[in-house]
Chain length 320, copies 2
């Protein structure tokens, strides 16, 4: 008889009301209502990435997501968003009950969101922020390692080191992010002390992702050493190598200032690359784990494969 393994019904599934402790990352230009509802319907937590949406576009995505799923879903809001209060007003008005905040201080908006009965998870990359999250009253934290795509912390701490550090620093439910795309890596993160995982790149390369097909193609063709944390003098961001990246690197190597880099960056580079498919001139935000992703699949299939792999890997470590 095979022994029982630890249930995946835990603090994270209870907090969000999901079947599995798998959260799809709210990624700019990749995660609209189609992706979020597909992940939620498969038992994970789908997230609409509001960072690349005008307020009225977010409202449309919320409405469509509610039509596409009866299951819980959330919204990711980067707190550096110019008129962030407009996004929060829409979230409150449309009665979305789960918000992930990132790129900012959780103290500013958490009390407002909590007053409206919203569950708040904040994304962090260092120990100091874990304490700030506790003080601000957030309900859970995402510990995002250096290998994650897009914006990232200045400390460059990897998932393998960050998750145990955050586990020591707080008793809050803990979601690991960065480098996770399979059931095996999900288990690895849970072993380090996480209660759940947040997965971005694997879902960016899903059928329901709103990433441009040419960007998806670049993701599945990428190898190790094809992404780097860059633009550290502005805000560190992990990008896939392309013409734009090489230009940034050349400038950085010659000692460019933040202003020089902002000038090169210009406006709407991420949209150009990730949404419009100009994969050489645009900014392509993706994680290191893209090297392990070799196909485009339905998001629901991805959730099922991850859970299957998770359980199989536990069995590997049990003899009987």
């Amino acid at each position: 008889m095979s022994p029982d393994i630890r249930s995946v019904n835990n603090r994270i599934t209870k907090l969000f009301g999901t079947d599995y402790p798998i959260v799809q990352a709210g990624m700019i230009w990749c995660s609209g209502w189609k992706l979020a509802s597909a992940v939620s319907n498969a038992g994970g937590l789908g997230i609409i990435g509001a960072g690349s949406m005008y307020p009225e576009i977010l409202e449309e995505h919320i409405r469509k997501c509610k039509q596409a799923t009866g299951k819980p879903f959330g919204i990711n809001v980067p707190l550096i968003y110019p008129e962030v209060e407009k996004l929060f007003d829409i979230i409150v008005a449309n009665e979305v009950k789960i918000v992930f905040t990132s790129a900012g201080n959780p103290a500013r908006w958490t009390p407002f969101l909590k007053q409206h009965g919203i569950t708040v998870t904040h994304v962090i990359a260092n120990v100091k922020s874990a304490q700030k999250c506790e003080e601000s009253g957030v309900d859970a934290v995402v510990a995002e390692g250096f290998e994650a795509g897009g914006h990232n912390g200045k400390e460059e701490t990897t998932t393998m080191v960050l998750v145990p550090l955050i586990r020591q620093a707080t008793t809050l439910p803990l979601i690991a992010a960065g480098g996770i795309a399979t059931g095996r890596s999900m288990l690895s993160a849970m072993v380090l002390g996480a209660d759940g995982v947040q997965i971005g790149s694997r879902f960016a390369a899903s059928a329901e992702s709103s990433a441009h097909p040419l960007f998806k193609k670049k993701i599945i063709e990428s190898h190790d050493g094809d992404t780097f944390l860059t633009l550290k003098k502005i805000v560190p961001v992990r990008l896939l190598r392309n013409k734009f990246f090489e230009e940034v690197r050349k400038l950085e190597d010659s000692g460019a200032t933040a202003d020089d880099l902002k000038l090169l960056l210009g406006r709407a580079r991420a949209k150009m690359g990730m949404f419009e498919g100009n994969v050489e001139e645009g900014e392509l935000e993706i994680g290191q784990v893209s090297a392990l992703i070799n196909d485009i699949k339905a998001a629901g299939e991805i959730v099922r494969e991850i859970m299957e792999g998770y359980k199989q890997t536990i069995q590997e470590f049990i003899k009987s």
Copy 2:
């Protein structure tokens, strides 16, 4: 009744003749015969780090290590060592049967070592090198992630991503390195597909490490964000922040060339910091995981605690 868990007697313990698949990293200025013999006596594989030794000093360490343990131990040889053939002659003459090579092409020396009945493990940081290792006839590989201390790969791939990539790329026995200091992180690496782990920083802060007491003090006092991969224009190396590091960073930020950096680096910076204890002017090579290390312990105690933590963590994932 508790179910049986997967045995730690595996390809790595068989290859090296150890009790546990725990390898102590061969670190310059930290790992002489005292540390290597203590780890081997505790059931792991102790390694003498030859990179910081003159040939005659290595011979002395081998002799003393053999007096201190009857168990297998190995030698780490960075292939960039100026007169590397002298080290290999001493290793052959003294009948050491395990060699770890790093920082170079495994094709050059592996056939020579294999002819002398030596088990060869090569340290790699990318997929391409895994194939080169197979072709060169090495017996096992160490996959070293970005979070590891000291010299590191240009790809910046973290342990969480690198281990599954190398597991896919080769059938060779695979040892994970970078970010591992506890039984929990050891299991996490094994879950990712490793057959064993190589641990550096935790042993650098052991009683038997030859690191200067002031360097050990810096290790146990360090926090997240206190180490960075730097000197990338020469050879990437992970260092603990100190006065020397800040000077390097300032130069790099202003676009310094490799030559500028070599001039600042000068000679014997690592010895100055790690062995002589000038912890502000010297180079302090250590991994990110130093943030999780808070005490100095006997190496044997470290091995026992890691194995205990490893088994306990497996039990956590089994209900019955």
